[in-house]
């Protein structure tokens, strides 16, 4: 099944649930009408939270940059001796 179909099915299911709640009036309709707004707001907040948390915990590797510099020196030495052109310009 295509992914978009899965998502549509989910949305249709949620909409049916919401509609059902509206019809049967188990919950006061003033609340029910606002549910989609709450849902979207929550989704937005969750997304922002995920971005924020991810940003804070973004793994960095400064030591790799140093190792890379050493590798580059080693590589340039080896290749220069064997006739490979390794100047940067």
């Amino acid at each position: 099944m295509k992914h978009i179909v899965k998502i549509m099915t989910l949305l249709v299911g949620i909409s049916a649930l919401w509609f059902g709640l509206l019809m049967t009036s188990m919950v006061p309709s003033s609340h029910t009408l606002l549910l989609p707004i709450y849902f979207i707001t929550c989704l937005g907040c969750y997304g922002l939270l995920m971005v924020g948390v991810g940003l804070m915990r973004f793994p960095t590797c400064p030591q790799e940059a140093l190792l890379l510099q050493q590798d580059i020196i080693e590589a340039k030495d080896y290749l220069k001796q064997r006739g490979v052109d390794v100047c940067s310009e």
Partner: protein, 238 residues
């Protein structure tokens, strides 16, 4: 009896005269006990990249380094297809030439594949053990935002969608590449999402990504628009 695996490493290049020499040296350093070949797909670089590759062939052997050039810039997807046609290994590694993908991780890709029998092993910068260096806050923010959006919309099953440091079983790569049509890094996303949809076994290994040292980065300005268009396309067609 275990089959002998051969790894074809496809490296597309454009104006990577210095980087390609460094990358080749590092690959040979870290894969000294592995049967592999390097396929350089150069798109007619004006800076003499192909001359440097020929010098490297003198050092390492023309059977280990294949130069399969093209006349001009023809895009990343077709570069992989082109390299694939000349690949004699049963596994294919794709990686960048600019040293942001460090060959020191190649053994971990191979090990992961052997341990799990996976069809694809993809490098991820976003998990513990991996990471980035040389990214300012803005770049991290856009990267993280883009990732969260893609995860929410696509449920891809991998943590790093735009990464292009990957090991594929050759037959799997041939299968996926024929059904992908995007360009640039959206192409990388399309490949991994299609692979996920087709049910291929995908594993991840942490990699570090040090922003390029030499040369100019090929990232441009209209990235965000391209990315969103790519996401929409993937949402609807996969």
């Amino acid at each position: 009896m275990a089959e002998r695996n051969k790894y074809s490493i496809i490296i597309p290049t454009y104006n990577e005269r210095l980087n390609i020499a460094l990358v080749v040296f590092l690959v040979f350093k870290h894969l000294w006990d592995v049967d592999f070949e390097i396929i350089v797909v150069d798109d007619g670089s004006p800076d003499g990249t192909q001359e440097v590759v020929k010098q490297l062939q003198q050092v390492y052997g023309e059977d280990r380094i294949l130069l399969r050039a093209r006349p001009k810039k023809l895009g990343l997807g077709t570069a992989y297809s082109h390299g694939l046609k000349h690949a004699s290994g049963n596994f294919v590694v794709i990686m960048d030439a600019d040293l942001s993908h460090h060959p020191t991780y190649l053994p971990s890709f191979i090990k992961k594949q052997l341990e799990t029998g996976a069809n694809i092993v993809t490098g991820t910068r976003y998990v513990k053990g991996g990471g980035v260096h040389g990214w300012n806050l803005m770049r991290k923010l856009t990267s993280r935002g883009a990732n969260v959006l893609a995860q929410t919309l696509l449920w891809p099953g991998v943590s790093d969608l735009t990464g292009s440091f990957r090991l594929y079983r050759k037959s799997v790569l041939e299968d996926i590449i024929s059904s992908c049509v995007s360009k640039g890094y959206v192409f990388q996303m399309e490949m991994i999402v299609r692979a996920s949809r087709k049910g291929y076994h995908i594993e991840e290994v942490p990699i570090s990504f040090v922003d390029r040292i030499y040369g100019s980065s090929k990232l441009g300005g209209s990235e965000i628009v391209e990315y969103l268009k790519g996401l929409a396309y993937l949402l609807v067609t996969t």
